[in-house]
């Protein structure tokens, strides 16, 4: 059953994380994971843990920053926020994504329709 869910490609995970942070403002890891699951309506096979190395990589790239703060359960949590470089990257990746998905979509049209 779970096997029917598409794997999340690394590139698209980056896009989803940046988009989430851009939309919602600073979030801790669990918040980002929940948001991605909600938006995708649990349609993705995403192990939540894979988010953390990805966040670390984004931070190293300079696209997000992190700060420790208090979480809603009154524990210390790490909050991630998007940077200006991250927004630029988001814009670039979003455009790229649209272009590619547009191309793929044209391929997938029923034959003879165009």
């Amino acid at each position: 059953m779970a096997n029917d869910k598409p794997d999340v490609l690394h590139g698209s995970l980056v896009l989803m994380v940046l988009r989430t942070l851009d939309t919602l403002g600073p979030q801790h890891g669990w918040g980002i994971a929940r948001r991605i699951e909600q938006i995708s309506e649990d349609g993705l096979e995403l192990k939540q843990g894979t988010l953390y190395p990805a966040l670390l990589r984004l931070e190293q790239m300079g696209w997000v920053t992190s700060k420790w703060g208090a979480s809603e359960n009154n524990r210390r949590a790490r909050f991630y926020g998007i940077t200006r470089a991250g927004r630029k990257q988001l814009a670039a990746e979003a455009e790229n994504w649209e272009r590619i998905s547009g191309i793929i979509a044209r391929f997938m049209k029923p034959a003879g329709e165009s």
Partner: protein, 391 residues
């Protein structure tokens, strides 16, 4: 590019903050699991169910942590460091084997280094401090009809210097010496008669005073000047900084000390540590057998050449052969039967290197100068190793 650099720097600094990494990672992942568990409980699961559902959803915690660590630092360095530590542990565990292996390596490397430095000293760069030794070659004369080699005469040499264009320089060097008093005993000091351009061409700069000046090549015994070695300066003159301009009796003639050679320069005879040098004009004083500077038949000096960059020994030989003909035009009598050859410094038959040199000579395949007969063959086969000074 900038991004890659930033990533590298952050990872590098990540290496140094490993303690922070572990603590923060634990805390962050723990927070995540607690949040997820709490939500599962909220949905109506028991605490136990909620926790295991959270773990399932999270994926392999250990695996995630490992990926996280790898991303955090520079895995190549870290793995390398692990390997080094593992290696050291294994060495400690088998001390017998380890010391045997280390001993073998030590001896092996040591023997290699010894052989290489011997080869380097004898064959590759025989003269300490001399610049561009890779382009240096020796010039020898050979006599038709007689085995072996001769030296070169000063007039021949001057002609080569004047007529040849493929060479940076020609220098000459004649082994000689004198007897000096050291306290109450006498000591033989080896020395060289050299052309005035000697120090300049070798790139050896006197640390005090100067080398020789062009005019000091000429005039019969006209320039009693000498450049002394660093060793002589230290031992005989106690490193006296005011030594320049002082005089020293050499072979019965008072010589003015005009320069002190640099430490570690011993001249251009392998196996000899020259103590002083005098210019060519002093030949008669230091070389037995009378005055030879105007006698083309008097072959008393060893010549060295330095090829211009990119010039092959064959080209150089060809030019010496051609130049030799103009030299030969002024020759007469049995001197017309003489030849000149340039040979690798290592194969120089006059340098005191016996076996090593002759092996190298055969290895190099330049057997052209073993007999005059073979010199002829070489010229005919256009190898260009042998040639005549006579037309």
């Amino acid at each position: 590019m900038m991004t890659q650099l930033r990533v590298f720097l952050r990872r590098l600094s990540g290496l140094l903050r490993k303690g922070d990494l572990e603590r923060n990672m634990e805390e962050e992942l723990d927070h995540h699991l607690r949040m997820e568990t709490a939500e599962n409980v909220h949905k109506g699961m028991t605490a136990e169910e909620a926790r295991s559902a959270a773990l399932r959803r999270f994926g392999g915690v250990a695996q995630i942590k490992e990926t996280y660590r790898e991303t955090h630092g520079l895995p190549v360095f870290q793995v390398l460091w692990q390997d080094v530590r593992f290696g050291l542990r294994m060495l400690r565990r088998n001390p017998g084997f380890s010391s045997l292996a280390i001993l073998c390596l030590t001896l092996g490397i040591g023997a290699n280094a010894a052989v290489f430095s011997w080869i380097e000293g004898i064959l590759l760069r025989p003269f300490p401090l001399v610049a561009h030794q890779d382009r240096m070659m020796a010039v020898t004369g050979t006599n038709r009809g007689a085995p072996g080699h001769t030296d070169v005469s000063w007039p021949d040499f001057v002609d080569f210097q004047r007529n040849c264009t493929l060479f940076d320089a020609f220098i000459v060097d004649r082994i000689t010496g004198t007897t000096l008093n050291i306290g109450d005993r006498a000591e033989r000091s080896p020395a060289s008669v050299v052309s005035a351009n000697y120090f300049e061409v070798l790139g050896v700069h006197p640390i005090l005073g100067r080398g020789f000046e062009p005019a000091e090549d000429f005039g019969r015994n006209a320039h009693p000047v000498t450049v002394i070695s660093y060793q002589m300066w230290q031992e005989r003159f106690k490193g006296n900084p005011g030594i320049i301009g002082k005089t020293q009796m050499l072979n019965g003639m008072s010589h003015t000390i005009v320069g002190v050679g640099p430490e570690g320069f011993y001249g251009t005879f392998v196996g000899w540590a020259m103590q002083f040098w005098v210019p060519t004009s002093m030949q008669e004083r230091f070389d037995p057998g009378g005055y030879k500077l105007e006698d083309r038949g008097a072959r008393w000096i060893e010549g060295f050449v330095r090829l211009k960059p990119g010039v092959t020994p064959e080209q150089a030989q060809a030019e010496i052969s051609a130049g030799g003909k103009t030299v030969g035009n002024r020759l007469s009598g049995d001197q017309s039967r003489s030849w000149h050859q340039i040979v690798p410094v290592v194969a120089n038959p006059f340098q005191q290197r016996g076996g090593a040199a002759s092996h190298a000579r055969h290895r190099a395949g330049s057997g052209c100068f073993d007999t005059p007969h073979r010199v002829c063959e070489c010229e005919q086969s256009a190898v260009g190793q042998g040639f005549r000074t006579a037309a």
